[in-house]
């Protein structure tokens, strides 16, 4: 197809220009691969855990892009100009876009090595697990720290601001329902009205963050006694010196997927990269240096880069009675509703 | 409107001084202006005349001295309470208001009734002969029309003193002369006291009852136009008003003036000691020319010879520039009627009667030696 020929060549030209612009000595013939993930502290950890080892082992240069922009990928695929080879993002996106803007890579990668609950689509390969929970400032509640999601919503016993991720696609509904006494097993289908009513009850004490960087910044400043959201980013903040403590009683488990957009210019390299990133060695390196858990069967880190990581290790708490796991198939069907209802509420 | 006689106010400046930093813009100015008098402050730019006007208007506070109107000091009054009309050099019409609104402005500020305002404005427009232009905006009026609107605006509230700051400077000659006569007429009709600032000596001579000549922040001389022209007290005044020939020298024993090569006769000039530095003024209008080199033997006259280097026709008269070997270039004027057809290059004899020479004390290095044209 003429278009494909054009786009391949165009990508080559772009790559060449990029080399020129970046002033690197690398020749245009060098094999490259574009990897999109949410960036920040995650990218830092992944760079050490498997990106750099991969580059060293294969000679393929990995160009990283963040944050994840699925709309852009979808658009690029639609016009035949895909320029991203690997994406790490949530399972809902994999399921909803499989066969449309994402390649079916089942034939290329053996998924039997992963824990089955993380295999959700023929277009996705399980990446890592992580939790959403809340964190409290130790000095704010020295005697009697909050011990449940209900405490997070109790502003009389635990006064002060709460910083919350401003997204309907996170776990805000789940958090509110857990606080309202819903059992972790019965979260789905989500009762939006109940959840939002719960949030409304503490609306005056809420503050919002939008990116993990903001969450880390907030915690380093220490001006908000309670924050909820991304465990990895928050734990990273604690490692960097933020004086917060995680609530571990009832974490909400999430997991990410690797996916390959349709028409990815370096599909072969992409498959190679995913295999490398999900190898036992890579996952072990990652989870021992970053607050995420493995998706591969039998991965067990022996030592951690930091005692805080060990204390907050999320790889084994999945079976604890308070833990909840998201239901990706229900969530993907109700994505629009989740986003819209939250936006309506938050912008009210 | 009040009667002409009671309109004007008596304005008195006593020892008025204004200092900007260590520069005296105005120094020790005394000026007594009678009610209804038209006085012009005349001088080159930077001589302090406008600063003096601005002090009368209240825009600038004097550093020392006092300004009185009808015997009462007005030092403490802000400009808007001094009740003086002012016409600005650039008219300063409010561009966002029609001519009518401009003229009504001072009346509105004085909270006059609507009917009163309409009537006063109508009369003011009549007075400056601008009826029919009330609804125009300033940018739709010619320079002369704008000037008349400014004039109407300055007199409509019947001030007792009218201040005018180079009001005709931006206009062409014909319009200027016509407006001069209009201003004269208005002054006559309204009888208010006018203080008029200009650097144009012709304008000053044509309009004023009295002229105060400013130089470097002080008044050099005050007098009627005729006094200033015929008997200036200083070389500066002589040079500033009208064309002049000024010959520098020292007072001779016989009361004449000895210049580099000779002594000029002067009739009946007392007061200056022999040997003092002095300047002899000869107005070109008093200079006679003769075609021949033949010397006049009139014992009461001064004689020079030279050759004509320029003849300029000015309409009613001719101005001739003569190069004299003895004292340099010399100006002479001949009326068109008496012009003898002298041409450039002609050798001529020059003479003037001793009583037409005016001996001035001192020498002013800042004015030209001879042949001052204004």
């Amino acid at each position: 197809m003429k278009n494909a020929w054009f786009s391949t060549n165009a990508a080559g030209i772009v790559a060449g220009l990029a080399m020129l612009v970046a002033g690197t000595a690398a020749s245009a013939q060098q094999r490259t691969l574009v990897y999109m993930n949410s960036g920040g502290v995650l990218l830092e950890a992944e760079r050490a855990a498997f990106i750099e080892p991969f580059e060293k082992a294969t000679g393929i240069k990995v160009v990283t892009v963040s944050p994840v922009d699925m709309a852009k990928i979808q658009t690029m695929v639609r016009v035949g100009q895909t320029n991203v080879d690997v994406v790490q993002w949530n399972p809902e996106q994999v399921v909803v876009n499989c066969g449309k803007s994402l390649e079916n890579i089942r034939a290329d990668i053996d998924v039997s090595v992963f824990q089955p609950q993380y295999v959700v689509s023929e277009c996705g390969v399980p990446a890592a697990t992580f939790i959403h929970t809340f964190f409290y400032k130790k000095s704010a509640f020295p005697q009697n720290p909050p011990k449940s999601w209900a405490d997070f919503f109790d502003t009389t016993k635990f006064p002060g601001k709460r910083a919350v991720w401003n997204s309907g696609l996170g776990t805000n509904y789940e958090q509110a329902l857990l606080a309202d006494g819903v059992s972790p097993k019965d979260l789905y289908p989500l009762d939006f009205d109940k959840a939002l009513a719960k949030w409304s009850s503490i609306r005056g004490d809420l503050q919002f963050w939008s990116t993990p960087a903001q969450l880390v910044q907030l915690m380093q400043e220490g001006s908000v006694p309670l924050v909820s959201g991304w465990g990895p980013a928050a734990t990273q903040a604690i490692i960097k010196g933020a004086e917060y403590q995680a609530f571990t009683g009832s974490p909400i488990y999430l997991f990410n997927q690797y996916m390959v957009p349709k028409g990815a210019p370096n599909k072969a390299e992409a498959i190679e990269f995913i295999k490398f990133a999900t190898s036992a060695e890579s996952q072990t390196r990652l989870v021992s240096s970053y607050p995420e858990g493995p998706t591969r069967i039998g991965v067990e880190p022996k030592e951690f880069a930091n005692p805080i990581l060990e204390a907050n290790y999320v790889g084994k708490g999945l079976d604890s009675p308070g833990a909840a796991t998201i239901n990706p198939s229900w969530r993907l069907e109700h994505q629009d509703e989740m986003a819209k209802k939250w936006t309506d509420w938050a912008t009210r | 409107m009040r009667h002409a006689a009671e309109r004007g106010a008596h304005v008195r400046l006593a020892g008025v001084t204004r200092r900007f930093g260590d520069f005296d813009a105005v120094r020790d100015v005394d000026l007594d202006i009678a009610a209804g008098e038209f006085v012009t402050l005349l001088g080159p730019s930077g001589s302090g005349k406008t600063t003096t006007l601005n002090m009368v208007a209240g825009f600038i506070q004097p550093t020392a001295g006092d300004i009185e109107v009808d015997g009462r000091t007005i030092q403490a009054l802000p400009p808007h309470k001094r009740d003086m009309g002012m016409v600005f050099q650039s008219y300063a019409l409010f561009p966002h208001m029609t001519a009518e609104e401009n003229v009504a402005f001072p009346l509105r500020e004085r909270r006059r009734s609507a009917g009163d305002i309409a009537e006063s404005v109508r009369r003011a427009f009549e007075l400056v002969k601008l009826d029919g232009f009330e609804k125009r905006y300033p940018d739709q009026l010619s320079g002369g029309q704008q000037q008349r609107v400014a004039l109407a605006r300055a007199i409509v509230f019947e001030p007792r003193v009218l201040l005018m700051d180079e009001p005709l400077g931006a206009l062409d000659r014909k319009l200027r002369e016509w407006l001069q006569s209009e201003i004269k007429r208005l002054h006559r009709e309204l009888g208010l006291t006018v203080i008029f600032v200009t650097h144009d000596q012709g304008e000053a001579l044509a309009l004023s009852d009295r002229v105060a000549v400013f130089n470097r922040g002080r008044i050099e001389q005050i007098g009627t136009p005729q006094e200033l022209w015929t008997t200036p007290r200083t070389p500066f005044v002589a040079a500033f008003l009208g064309d002049s020939n000024l010959i520098r020298g020292v007072v001779a024993d016989d009361g004449g003036l000895s210049s580099s090569s000779r002594t000029f006769r002067i009739a009946g000039q007392p007061g200056l000691a022999a040997g003092a530095a002095a300047t002899l003024l000869v107005r070109p209008e008093f200079v006679q020319l003769a075609r021949t080199r033949q010397q006049h033997t009139d014992p009461g006259a001064n004689h020079l010879v030279g050759h004509v280097i320029d003849v300029t026709f000015l309409g009613s008269s001719y101005r001739l520039t003569v190069a004299c070997s003895e004292i340099g270039t010399f100006l002479a004027a001949q009326t068109a009627a008496s012009f003898e057809g002298i041409a450039e290059g002609d050798e001529v004899g020059i003479w003037w009667r001793a009583e037409h020479g005016v001996l001035l004390a001192g020498v002013d290095e800042s004015v030209h030696h001879v042949g001052n044209r204004n």
Binding site: V63, Q81, Q220, S223, T343, T347 | H80, F94, F105, E109
Partner: protein, 555 residues
């Protein structure tokens, strides 16, 4: 070619050919994409007005639309209240002070929007400098970030120069002797101000307010980074619709609605300005040193001006010390110092790569925009045809259309053309953005140019080409340079369209900074900001003193 000897005032449409290249570029880069956006809004996902119906049926969307208008109005009002005394003071002070005040206005104007917003984030954070200062006097801490306060402060700072400059240019033309005249006619000083000065400054008030209001309608970066979801504005909604909800049809409809609101405001105010044709000041002869009423400078005016100058400069200044922190956070003041973030900037391939990419794109855009824009201005000024006004309006489209709308439109169109992620794509888009500034600058310059000089050159035997090259171009050099600098800065500073056009291999510096702020705690951005800020400050100061010196020499 048009006949150069034709009479003044007659129409010479052939000159419009000069405007053709710029017109074609604008058509390709802006107008067609906008038309396609309009099409998308009625064609996706289903043909019809479904998207509009959805918008106007939703209480949330209407609330956001209303809030967008209200916020823009509030920003305009605050800018006017702060900018008016500041501009007024600028007309009263001496040359040196005026230069300082001008620098205070222009430096942030030329400092990347990202830099300024980032500066505010640092200043306004709960433990930031402002809250600390307030704590010293026993106040606070106040929540300044993530709410309307943050959005307002940020937007006002970004918009203040756009208010002050037209105000100052109008006030500079007001003859202060009119106030003196008013006083001599019996008006009190405050009455003279109210009745004479204020009405005369109305064109500036109008121009400034319209620019600020229209620009505020389309604000994305400031509310996104300093505001909160409770204060979400229409442009953020559009961005979200397209970027995270993949709802192209509704996003396009919202873009059309935002554009319509903007055009409505412009149409309404343009009729307002036409109604006041006599507010223009008539030219007055120079005062030849007459000591007019010495401008009194009340203390209050100085305090407001200092406050405004602080708002303008503070967010850029704060980043300088922050860039030397030894820590990996934005906590201020830093506990230890180092140059590690500069080291990082100059050794990190991504940072240095984005800097080089930005320089390259900005340089190319500046050159092309200056050439095309100057030709267009020449054509517009000289043609005097009835197409002049429509042509000028076409040229101004990129200034008027909110950037989020442009970004969404350009992205969709450039995708089809294969221009996304290409230097050429960036250059075309940025050139289109810069052309209006060039046209405005050059039109103003050309209108002041005495066309008779060209006729004189013609009478001396120069042909049309040599007239322009030999007479017009050298005389216009200051304007051309100004226009080129404007164009360069426009491209170098552009964020939103670049966000859409970026590829993994091609990212401009502002895009890199934007994602860095969103992405990780890394004071490298402070180092980058400091570098940009220094370059801008040096450029503007040098150029100001250079032109100031020339004016002085001229008398």
């Amino acid at each position: 070619m048009a006949d150069g000897s034709s009479k003044q005032g007659s129409s010479r449409p052939a000159w419009l050919l000069f405007a053709l290249p710029a017109g074609l570029l604008l058509a390709g880069a802006m107008i067609i994409p906008l038309l396609l956006t309009f099409w998308t809004s009625v064609a996706e996902p289903k043909a019809g007005l479904g998207n509009y119906a959805e918008f106007f049926a939703s209480a949330t969307y209407l609330r956001i639309l209303w809030r967008t208008i209200w916020t823009a109005a509030l920003v305009t009002l605050v800018c006017l209240l702060l900018g008016y005394p500041y501009a007024y003071l600028m007309t009263l002070v001496g040359r040196r002070t005026r230069m300082l005040l001008t620098v205070a206005v222009l430096v942030p104007f030329w400092t990347s929007a990202i830099v300024r917003i980032f500066g505010w984030m640092v200043l306004l954070q709960p433990s930031g400098l402002i809250n600390r200062a307030l704590a010293l006097v026993g106040l606070g801490p106040f929540e300044l970030l993530g709410n309307l306060t943050g959005t307002l402060i940020g937007m006002v700072q970004v918009m203040l120069p756009l208010m002050i400059l037209p105000l100052y240019s109008t006030m500079g033309r007001i003859d202060r002797r009119l106030m003196v005249a008013a006083c001599s006619l019996g008006a009190t000083p405050s009455g003279a101000f109210r009745k004479v000065y204020l009405p005369l400054s109305r064109p500036g008030i109008l121009a400034g307010s319209v620019i600020v209001f229209v620009s505020s309608l389309g604000f994305y970066l400031v509310p996104q980074m300093l505001g909160s979801p409770q204060q979400q504005l229409l442009s953020q909604l559009i961005f979200d619709q397209v970027s995270s909800l993949l709802n192209f049809g509704l996003g396009a409809a919202m873009a059309v609605i935002l554009l319509a609101a903007t055009l409505l405001v412009l149409a309404a105010t343009s009729s307002l300005t036409r109604g006041s044709s006599h507010t223009g000041t008539i030219s007055l002869s120079s005062s030849n040193g007459h000591p007019t009423l010495t401008g009194r400078r009340p203390l209050g005016l100085g305090i407001i001006a200092l406050f405004v100058a602080a708002i303008l400069v503070a967010p850029a200044i704060i980043l300088v010390p922050l860039s030397f922190t030894a820590e990996a956070s934005f906590v201020f003041p830093p506990k230890a110092w180092s140059v590690r973030w500069y080291e990082h900037f100059f050794t990190d391939g991504e940072w240095i790569g984005s800097l080089l990419a930005s320089l390259k794109i900005a340089l190319m855009s500046a050159i092309i925009a200056t050439i095309l824009g100057s030709l267009a201005a020449l054509g517009i000024v000289r043609s005097r045809s009835r197409f002049t006004t429509p042509m000028l309006m076409v040229m101004l489209i990129p200034r008027v259309v909110p950037h989020v709308v442009l970004a969404v439109a350009v992205f969709a169109f450039f995708l089809v053309l294969g221009l996304v992620g290409k230097v050429s794509g960036f250059v075309i888009a940025h050139t289109a953005l810069a052309i209006p500034l060039v046209v405005i600058t050059m039109t103003a310059g050309l209108q002041m140019l005495d066309e008779r000089l060209e006729l004189a050159a013609a009478s001396l035997g120069a042909n049309r080409f040599r007239q322009i090259l030999g007479v017009t171009a050298p005389l216009m050099l200051p304007s051309i340079l100004t226009a080129a600098v404007f164009a360069f800065v426009t491209s170098f500073d552009e964020v939103i369209i670049s966000l859409f056009l970026q590829s993994p291999f091609l990212r401009t510096l502002p895009v890199k900074m934007f994602s860095s702020i969103q992405d990780q705690i890394d004071p490298t951005i402070a180092a980058a900001s400091t570098l940009i800020f220094l370059v801008a400050t040096v450029t503007i100061t040098v150029s100001l003193f250079a032109t100031g010196g020339r004016h002085a020499a001229r008398g």
